[in-house]
């Protein structure tokens, strides 16, 4: 189920939430587990078996590691869990991709398997791994209660699109959490904001991008090329951070405190800063469980460069089974290395505006690589971005004018400039409360209207 579907908003969400609040404390985790599994099963019921299997096997391994007599025995179980997690992830996500590469390189013709990607597998596999590794490292205790562990893995607010919640973040809350009206109302508000980012902004910006990206790139004007990639970078931000907002909001409503996942990434003044602000839960996961164990920056400059390459290739690959994602990861590895080696020194001396332009430029090019699952589109698109003989066309003027309000609103919201308004308001408690009530009502109404409209399909004169 997706948060931005009417089935979720009008059925699952109200029914589950009310049920969750009235059910006695002892049964709340069971309710959450059943609700989450139902949520996950909606639309793809078969993969629920995979999830239940992962929960049980890793629960058992976790216990074994926790009770292991010595480090060696624990290590055996650790490796077993890692093999299972990564093995499943590889099979369901990367198997066909790998076959495809083999077929191309060795001119073979091995048949594909017919698996489809189970939703959320990249997220929950990483959550499980963080738990297992942390138990092994002795940072957390093994969870003795299967239901609590099941809740941690399947918790529906962050199941599909993150954030990747580390076990230690919610360890205490799994056993013991308080729910207050303050938390619920803050969570609700956060949820509404996230939903609006996704439905009102991301979807609209996304349709601009897809129209351009699927048009004839050789005829694309410079203005359109930039407009489109800017729209895409806003789209992916609102899509992703909107989902994180909804997850964090829902988490709050049910008594959990997840860590923030995005922190105004587009105000960054360098690429390193961008990655401290973008999808924080993923980059910190890789740092904690890959980069540092590989030696990080403690084993000399050469080793650090290799480590950065490994981590970023994997980060790229995590986003999808396609060559362009690996390229995208390497692209960032190179940029980060250049910054570390010498560029940072110069950037510090530059005025902020230059740093911003530098960062945004490379981030935009990055998103282009990210979107070019068909790599043949990359060069024509880049050349359109610098084709000064075709600056603007009528279509560019139309699309810009048609969407100017949405674009300006997006630019304001993505860097949180609207907070200046709310900070002023929040000094006056009553005014802030009224503001929140009004804005939530309008936003919920608009989201419903947009969602209904997206399925509106006048089929005049053809009755099938």
């Amino acid at each position: 189920m997706l948060f931005s579907s009417l089935t979720f908003l009008l059925y699952f969400f109200p029914i589950f939430t009310l049920l969750y609040y009235v059910i006695p404390r002892k049964l709340k985790n069971t309710t959450l587990l059943i609700g989450s599994l139902f949520f996950y099963a909606w639309g793809e019921p078969v993969y629920i078996l995979l999830m239940v299997f992962s929960i049980i096997i890793n629960y058992l391994i976790g216990l074994k590691i926790g009770s292991a007599k010595n480090k060696k025995q624990a290590k055996v179980y650790l490796i077993l869990a890692i093999l299972i997690c990564l093995g499943l992830l590889f099979y369901f996500k990367y198997f066909n991709f790998t076959l495809d590469l083999f077929n191309q390189i060795f001119k073979l013709n091995i048949r594909y398997s017919l698996v489809t990607l189970p939703i959320g597998i990249s997220f929950y596999s990483f959550q499980i791994l963080s738990y297992i590794i942390d138990v092994y490292r002795g940072k957390v205790k093994a969870q003795k209660n299967l239901i609590n562990f099941g809740v941690y893995v399947s918790l529906f607010p962050q199941l599909i699109a993150g954030p990747i919640v580390r076990y230690k973040t919610i360890e205490d809350e799994l056993a013991n959490r308080t729910i207050t009206f303050e938390k619920i109302s803050n969570g609700l508000y956060r949820f509404v904001i996230g939903l609006s980012k996704k439905v009102l902004l991301a979807n609209t910006l996304g349709s601009i991008w897809t129209t351009y990206f699927n048009s004839n790139l050789n005829e694309l004007s410079l203005g359109s090329a930039w407009l489109a990639i800017i729209c895409f970078s806003l789209q992916i931000f609102f899509d992703f951070s909107g989902y994180s907002d909804m997850a964090i909001g829902l988490g709050k409503m049910y008594g959990f405190n997840f860590l923030e996942n995005f922190d105004k990434p587009y105000i960054s003044k360098s690429i390193s800063e961008f990655w401290r602000r973008w999808h924080i839960s993923l980059s910190s996961w890789f740092k904690e469980y890959v980069y540092i164990p590989l030696g990080g920056n403690r084993k000399g400059a050469r080793r650090q460069i290799i480590n950065i390459f490994i981590v970023w290739s994997l980060t790229g690959l995590w986003h999808g089974a396609s060559v362009n994602f690996i390229l995208w990861g390497m692209y960032y590895a190179i940029l980060l290395i250049i910054e570390k080696l010498f560029l940072n020194k110069y950037l510090e001396k530059c005025p902020n505006i230059i740093n911003h332009i530098y960062s945004i430029f490379f981030i935009l090019i990055g998103w282009l690589i990210f979107e070019c699952t068909d790599l043949n589109k990359l060069l024509p698109y880049i050349s359109a971005m610098f084709n000064f003989s075709n600056l603007i066309d009528a279509n560019f003027l139309y699309v810009l004018k048609d969407n100017i309000v949405i674009i300006i609103a997006s630019l304001i919201v993505c860097n949180n400039y609207h907070q200046y308004l709310t900070i002023k308001l929040s000094n006056n408690e009553n005014a802030y409360f009224t503001f929140k009530i009004i804005i939530s009502t309008i936003l919920i109404g608009l989201c419903l209207v947009y969602l209904i409209d997206s399925t509106y399909n006048p089929f005049i004169y053809f009755r099938f």
Partner: protein, 369 residues
């Protein structure tokens, strides 16, 4: 206290939405969308396991939302507030014109159709005429938002340039652009009867016959409140209803529909009380309508057409004794058509938008001789 109020109020919105959605009686057909709506899916285990049930349930919830049409209106209104001038289905044009937004231009189908028409003219000695009606976006370019231009003019040029010179090709774009009356409906993609009459005079010119002058017709307003297809694509709060007029002439016709029904009028009075009032002209599109008229000249016409011809047909009845009105989308009994019905003339009447997306016309033309 504030937190409690906020919580109850916001959760209440979702709960009320759910209750409305549950108690709302599902409708099976949407007039505004002119399509059957998704019905509540049946709980079948295999459907649940394959995900079909869930997909259909999602569709059902959206299709059967109680205030669906109001929601579309609200979206249109919000878009207008945020200065947007289209909703990806229609442009919100000046003067309450709602004009179809067209997809990407792809001339492969059009090229095939042109070849088929040219081939037909080489294989038969019948008099072939083509009349490609431009779309509202082309004729009413001044009503479109700034910087929008319909690339359908390219398609129209393509047709005009590549159609064989053996064919009488009637060009209407400049004529319709310069008329003083309303050439297309505000709320529908079809042309008005006035435009059809002007096209008729152009056709007469090309066929070298004398048109029947306007004052010989009884021109009647048959409806004052037409809200057609392009209206339904936005359901705006503010609109201007369209007038439907007819050019009535004192001649007899009898129409035999494909299902055997015989009618003595081109006009379908019952359509005026329905949503889709353009079907006042000959009713719903039919695969073939055989028209016999009181024009006693023994001449037979094959009219291959889309719905734009429906309001044009009445003028043709003044010049032919028999007219075979074929909509190739629905008609497939094509062999020996020309001989079987003793056709003298062929008229291909299509709107450019439909023509570009049509596969059936060329199939039909390739097989009728």
């Amino acid at each position: 206290m504030k937190y409690k109020i906020f919580t109850i109020y916001i959760l209440g919105i979702f709960v009320v939405g759910m209750i409305i959605s549950i108690i709302h009686t599902p409708a099976s057909f949407s007039d505004a969308e002119n399509r059957y709506l998704e019905e509540k899916p049946k709980l079948v285990v295999s459907d649940i396991l394959s995900g079909t049930y869930e997909k259909n349930f999602d569709k059902y919830v959206s299709d059967q939302f109680a205030f669906r049409n109001t929601a579309i209106s609200l979206k249109t209104q919000f878009q207008m507030l945020t200065l947007q001038t289209d909703n990806s289905r229609v442009y919100f044009g000046d003067d309450y014109y709602f004009i179809d937004k067209q997809g990407k231009i792809d001339s492969t189908k059009l090229d095939t159709t042109i070849n088929s028409i040219n081939a037909l003219s080489e294989r038969t000695n019948k008099n072939i005429t083509t009349m490609i009606v431009p779309s509202s976006a082309l004729v009413n370019a001044d009503k479109l938002p700034d910087n929008v231009s319909s690339d359908r003019s390219k398609a129209l040029n393509n047709f005009n340039q590549n159609i064989s010179s053996n064919i009488n090709n009637i060009k209407l774009l400049d004529t319709l652009k310069n008329v003083k009356f309303q050439s297309f409906y505000r709320n529908d993609h079809h042309w008005t009867s006035d435009s059809a009459y002007v096209a008729y005079t152009k056709w007469c010119e090309a066929e070298k016959i004398k048109p029947i002058s306007k004052d010989k017709f009884k021109i009647k307003v048959v409806s004052n409140d037409f809200l057609g297809a392009t209206y339904s694509k936005a359901i705006p709060f503010n609109y201007k209803k369209d007038k439907i007029i007819k050019y009535e002439y004192d001649n007899q016709v009898s129409l035999t529909y494909s299902d055997g029904t015989v009618k003595n009028s081109i006009y379908e009075e019952s359509a005026l009380s329905k949503k889709d009032k353009y079907t006042y002209f000959t009713g719903q599109n039919d695969s073939i309508i055989k028209v016999h008229t009181s024009t006693n000249n023994g001449k037979s016409l094959l009219l291959v057409k889309d719905s734009f011809a429906n309001s044009y047909l009445s003028f043709l009845t003044l010049h032919y004794e028999n007219i075979y009105v074929v909509d190739p989308r629905y008609y497939n009994d094509t062999r020996n058509f020309l001989e079987l019905y003793n056709i003298d003339d062929i008229l291909v009447l299509y709107n450019i938008d439909n023509l570009m997306e049509d596969d059936y016309l060329s199939l039909f033309l390739d097989t009728i001789y």
